[in-house]
């Protein structure tokens, strides 16, 4: 698919917000899905070669948004797309978050894990849920879009490792204090955080959905480069993050097998 870049806005030294117009994409995308995006508009070079997997962060009318962090060659090139330019990407890929109505929901996001959580918060609010967002980062530069998030949640609790924004410390600390008050928890971020959040939820007997991120070549289930290990009864089985995920039951992920 192709779309038109509406804006590719620098949020801070690391983070960008990319809005793309594509009726075709918006028509079928579900909350929690991702896409593979071509990081360069140059058809005459094959470097970088692969598309980049990014979680869909929002949908508005015929437009969708991505939030990404510049970490390497691909995302650096992505940050250089100009307004009005044409950008290529895949169909919406992967499974989606389970939708709930009129529930008490906690969202726990770490760093760039905010991307799919942003759209999820809005969607759950629209469905009558009470939505609290626990959002952690290393520093003030790792927590973005705070104004927009405040508007779309009932409570926004921000933490940073160094205390440069919100509460100092890990996001799991305030979340753990309140976990009992929720019907369901959704989380996206670094694996260590996802494992901790899942552990807290399992102990409290509350369902938890985690959105996982792995290196991917195809995003279609063919390359087998993005394996996730999941418990099924007494067995641990392999799942493809791109097709059977990226959303998994946090209680069933075999965290000790994920690096």
């Amino acid at each position: 698919m192709k779309g038109k870049v509406i804006r590719n806005q620098r949020l801070n030294d690391k983070y960008y917000f990319l809005e793309i117009k594509s009726e075709e994409f918006v028509r079928s995308v579900k909350v929690g899905q991702f896409l593979m995006i071509k990081p360069s508009s140059n058809d005459y070079t094959h470097d970088p070669l692969l598309r980049r997997p990014l979680g869909v962060a929002d949908v508005n009318g015929d437009r969708f948004s991505l939030v990404y962090m510049v970490v390497g060659k691909g995302t650096k090139l992505l940050s250089e797309f100009h307004e009005g330019g044409t950008i290529e990407f895949s169909n919406p890929l992967g499974n989606s978050f389970t939708m709930n109505e009129n529930k008490r929901v906690a969202l726990v996001a770490g760093g760039i894990g905010i991307a799919p959580v942003y759209w999820l918060a809005k969607t759950l609010k629209d469905r009558g849920c009470v939505v609290d967002l626990y959002y952690g980062g290393r520093t003030v530069d790792d927590v973005v879009l705070l104004e927009e998030l405040k508007e779309n949640t009932d409570h926004l609790i921000v933490t940073t490792d160094d205390g440069s924004a919100g509460i100092r410390g890990f996001v799991t600390v305030p979340f753990k204090e309140n976990v009992e008050s929720y019907d369901i928890v959704y989380t996206c971020g670094p694996k260590g955080m996802l494992e901790a959040v899942s552990g807290i939820c399992v102990s409290a007997g509350i369902p938890v959905e985690v959105s996982l991120d792995e290196r991917m070549a195809c995003g279609l289930g063919a390359c087998l480069g993005c394996i996730i290990y999941v418990k099924e009864g007494d067995d641990v089985v392999q799942k493809r993050c791109c097709v059977e995920g990226p959303v998994f039951d946090g209680a069933k992920v075999a965290w000790d097998r994920l690096k």
Partner: protein, 306 residues
Amino acid sequence: MSDRLKTTFCGVEFKNPIITASGTFGYGLEYANHIDIGRLGGISVKGISLREVQGNPMPRIMETTSGMLNAIGLQNVGVVKFIKEKLPELRKYDTKVIVNFWGKTVDEYIEVAQILDDADVDMLEMNISCPNIKEGGIAFGTDPKMTYEVTSRVKKVVQNKPLMVKLSPNVTNIRVFAKACEDAGADAISAINTLLGMSVNIHTRKPNIFNVTGGLSGPAIKPVAIRMVHEVFRTVKIPVMGIGGIMDWRDVVEFSLVGAGAMQVGTANFVDPNIPLKIIDDLEKYLADNNIANLSELTGTVDLSR
């Protein structure tokens, strides 16, 4: 579509010479939701073994300059499940099915080949060149005597299907291996498999792939593949299927000029699943524009005069 792309390879009639390469296209079905796989000349499915294989621990892949490293470890569902669950679905599409297969021992190669010889498939591709697991055939693909032994013994039990052998580029002289295959009765050669590579994360100082080394693929390896197909074509009489870094129709023409009778598109399928179909359309246009009745007119016609 005209007949410009019709390709006969080892007696198998392909509607075009564009075949998706093993390990990059799953069992074909993974792509059926994204492209019309019935337009492909053929599909070479993920390497099949006697029993189901789980593959290597993660991380398994890493992008490199104009290429990627992988060490998946030949993960597959096993030959029985493949024939029962995957093949009937794949057969619903109008495309040729090539089954890539491998074993840990000569006896395993024979056993899988025997089963596949009686299955509803068009061609067998014997993998003696996966660099990612010790027993995954690389031992057979880097010693000409063993290449001859496994090929000749498998050929004895393959009665109904053409047998193509996929060669490793991780050898000093690929001609010796091509000759060993031909002498052992192989019907065709496919070349090349991935080049053994490695990359290290300078911050963690660890290899980027769990297996330490992986197979390099993508446009980065194309010149090596072109050279090797050229060498194989000029060494043996059996046909050669060219593989290695094909991204567009120009690459296909280049492989044709050095002798490839058909081509496999691999890593490009990861980059964009539409690439093989675009290649078919572009190739058709190129042949029409240049009044070439069939791509085979170009096979091996590289001009080496000085």
